[in-house]
């Protein structure tokens, strides 16, 4: 049998979470595109308009959940794709932690931006 690499592990949780986040993202990504390109328009974007949306707790929570699920789904997808291409050993560990650090930075930066629009000053930076 040819050498076979697979990111799939029987009983693995990463595979399941990739599907759970996918089901959520299918709906929310479509909503995001529709809201910001068809209801609002890209060339009419202002800080005040973004703030007005983000000051609603329902919209703010949805966008934070969107940020976290999209980051997990995207970064986990990249990690799985690399494993399927044969990534293993030390390289795999280094790439795994690089992706985790990149994800944390992306989420923190995204939350800070959402907070700037919503007028929330919880984080001390």
């Amino acid at each position: 049998m040819a050498e076979r690499y697979s990111s799939f592990r029987p009983g693995g949780r990463r595979w399941l979470w990739q599907r759970i986040t996918a089901a959520f993202l299918v709906v929310v990504l479509a909503f995001h595109f529709f809201l910001l390109h068809f209801i609002y328009h890209a060339d009419e974007v202002t800080f005040a308009l973004s703030s007005a949306r983000m000051e609603s707790w329902a919209y703010y929570s949805l966008m934070i959940l969107f940020l976290v699920t999209a980051t997990f789904h995207g970064v986990n997808g990249v990690y799985n794709a690399l494993i399927n291409q044969g990534l293993k050993g030390t390289k795999r560990t280094i790439i795994k932690w690089t992706l985790i650090v990149a994800s944390v930075i992306l989420i923190v930066q995204g939350v800070r931006t959402a907070n700037a629009w919503a007028g929330i000053t919880i984080l001390p930076f």
């Binding site: 049998m1 040819a2 050498e3 076979r4 690499y5 599907r19 996918a22 089901a23 993202l25 299918v26 990504l29 479509a30 595109f33 390109h37 068809f38 328009h41 890209a42 060339d43 974007v45 202002t46 800080f47 005040a48 973004s50 940020l67 999209a70 980051t71 995207g74 970064v75 997808g77 990249v78 794709a81 399927n84 291409q85 044969g86 990149a102 992306l106 930066q109 995204g110 800070r112 931006t113 700037a116 629009w117």
Partner: protein, 130 residues
């Protein structure tokens, strides 16, 4: 023990002439996934100008949106996102064992629907760029 067969190293892209519909779906899903995750990081970086204040954010977005190239790239992003969504729904169905015998047809349907939605969205995405 489950049965296995020698599928060869399917990640060998040099064999693209032998690829079936399912293999193309896998490649397109992977390619659109890479584009979307790359865009996610870029998107948050651009939106972060909001941290520099109202004017910085509004000016950045409006300057970018005044560029025809950005509008064309946005149409490309829409096409990539729509395909990833439609093929993703197809994959969820495949994982659940639904419609396995029509998985090639549902891939072609994803492609056609992506094309139709993208073309229909061009006027909205380009509006105000000229």
């Amino acid at each position: 023990m489950s049965q296995s067969y020698n599928r060869g190293l399917i990640e060998d892209f040099g064999r693209w002439r032998e690829f079936s519909a399912g293999m193309w779906a896998w490649i397109f899903h992977k390619f659109t996934g890479w584009v979307l995750v790359g865009y996610l990081f870029t998107h948050i970086a651009v939106l972060s100008t909001a941290l520099a204040g109202d004017a910085a954010y509004t000016n950045t977005i409006q300057t970018l949106e005044s560029l025809l190239l950005v509008r064309i790239l946005e149409v490309g992003l829409l096409a990539v996102a729509v395909f990833h969504i439609l093929n993703g729904m197809r994959l969820l169905m495949v994982d659940l064992g639904i419609g396995l015998e029509a998985q090639d047809k549902s891939f072609y349907a994803s492609l056609i629907l992506t094309g139709a939605i993208t073309v229909a969205s061009v006027p909205t995405f380009i509006a105000g760029a000229f």
